[in-house]
């Protein structure tokens, strides 16, 4: 049922608009650097507890909605996921079913020790709330993250297999194949160092993640993520995410370690 619910959500423009409006976000805001024209649509970001709808000092850089149009296609005829994507909104389903080991690890963790707070990678599938760029050719998809320590992932779509014994890494080894118009990204070879979230949900080096990418139109990217790690979770953990095309944005430099002065003051929990 999960599979059929999510496309239904996006098939309903009204529902989508409602859901998006519930998430006050900088997602569609225009960059002063990019010189975009203000419009008067999406609500502005909420400043936090007790905050109001505020904008920056240089004026009202109002949001523009993602563009409409047909799905762009590669020379191979498959959907082209190229673009700058933003407002990654994660649709979290039911809580994961953890093994006793995972529950114990989660309980013992304190967010002051979160590797991401120390400018280490957020890994997969955690996303930082910054834009990311996809560059795709028929044999390769490159994911460039503005944040997530300003790093990248490579998804090989040239038919290769995973290495027999990949070195454990923060982003793992990713290969992609097509299921109709869905790009299925299979990733193994993760290290166990990154956390899935602030709370500290853990995983092991046996982590296996499958991401199903769809671009149903020009302006939206839908991703279904399945997390399998039997030592940590008793059944597959499925989450869904949608990002919007940021037509007038560019990704910018983000060197996290440049001035990370506050980490020592994180109390945690």
């Amino acid at each position: 049922m999960k599979l059929s619910i999510i496309p239904s959500v996006f098939a309903s423009a009204g529902v989508l608009a409602t859901v998006l409006s519930l998430a006050p976000s900088p997602g569609f805001a225009q960059s002063a650097r990019n010189g975009a024209q203000p419009s008067s649509q999406t609500p502005r970001a909420q400043a936090g507890p007790g905050g109001g709808m505020l904008i920056g000092p240089e004026g009202d850089k109002e949001a523009v909605p993602p563009p409409s149009g047909p799905t762009p296609r590669l020379s191979s005829g498959k959907p082209d996921l190229t673009g700058i994507w933003f407002a990654p909104k994660t649709i979290r389903g039911e809580p994961p079913s953890m093994t006793p080991w995972a529950e114990q690890i989660l309980k013992s963790r304190n967010s002051k020790d979160d590797p991401e707070a120390h400018c280490l990678p957020a890994g997969v599938p955690r996303m930082t709330p910054y834009p990311y760029k996809f560059v795709q050719i028929p044999t390769l998809l490159i994911m460039l993250f503005e944040a997530n320590i300003h790093s990248y992932r490579q998804v090989f779509t040239d038919g290769r297999k995973h290495p027999d014994d990949p070195d454990p890494t923060w982003y793992g080894d990713s290969i992609g194949s097509w299921d109709g118009d869905t790009l299925v990204v299979d990733t193994i070879g993760f290290n166990d160092k990154f956390w899935f979230d602030f709370a500290g949900h853990p995983h092991t080096e046996d982590l296996h993640i499958t991401e199903r990418y769809q671009r149903p139109d020009l302006g939206h990217l839908q991703i279904q993520i399945t997390i399998v790690d039997p030592k940590a979770y008793t059944k597959p953990w499925i989450i869904n995410r949608v990002s919007n095309l940021a037509t007038n944005w560019e990704i910018h430099e983000y060197i996290c370690n440049e001035f990370n002065v506050d980490t020592e003051h994180i109390v945690g929990r």
């Binding site: 049922m1 619910i5 529902v15 936090g48 956390w195 979230d197 953990w237 996290c256 109390v267």
Partner: protein
């Protein structure tokens, strides 16, 4: 299908993705709001968080330094900021939250998180950070 859709939506949790690389609640105390009025001594346009330094007169007339964490330059820029938006000598009023640990930064400044800044001309603007971590589980 309609019933199924509604049932599915009831499980959705949407969280505002405001830029941060650490949890607000892990570092700052929502129960310790502060409002200070002072003079900008420095504005660091730097990652992962920009910092606004302000000199504030206490009740005895002594200058007290505050360091307010704001969002990152990229996130601020997308909200309509530039690195020239606030400069040394500007009079500002800042609303924010004190750090949980109560400790000062290494330069002696009182450590806090800015949510909004009222500029000398009266405009109240966004400065904040933190919120969603983009992870699969809720906080």
């Amino acid at each position: 299908m309609k019933a199924s859709l509604l049932a599915g939506l009831s499980f959705l949790v949407w969280v505002a993705p405001l830029p941060a690389h650490h949890s607000f609640g892990a570092e700052y105390d929502a129960n310790k709001p502060i409002t200070v009025k002072g003079v900008v001594t420095k504005f660091l346009w730097v990652n992962p968080h920009s910092y606004l330094y302000v000199s504030v007169k206490d009740e005895h007339g002594n200058a007290v330094g505050y360091a307010f964490e704001t969002s990152s330059p990229n996130a601020l820029e997308r909200r309509g900021w530039t690195r020239h938006a606030v400069k040394e000598g500007d009079q500002v009023t800042i609303e924010g939250y004190l750090a949980k640990d109560g400790a000062k930064l290494s330069d002696g400044s009182i450590h806090a998180n800015a949510r909004s800044i009222t500029l000398a001309d009266g405009r109240k603007v966004f400065a904040g950070s933190s919120a969603d971590d983009g992870g699969p589980a809720p906080k």
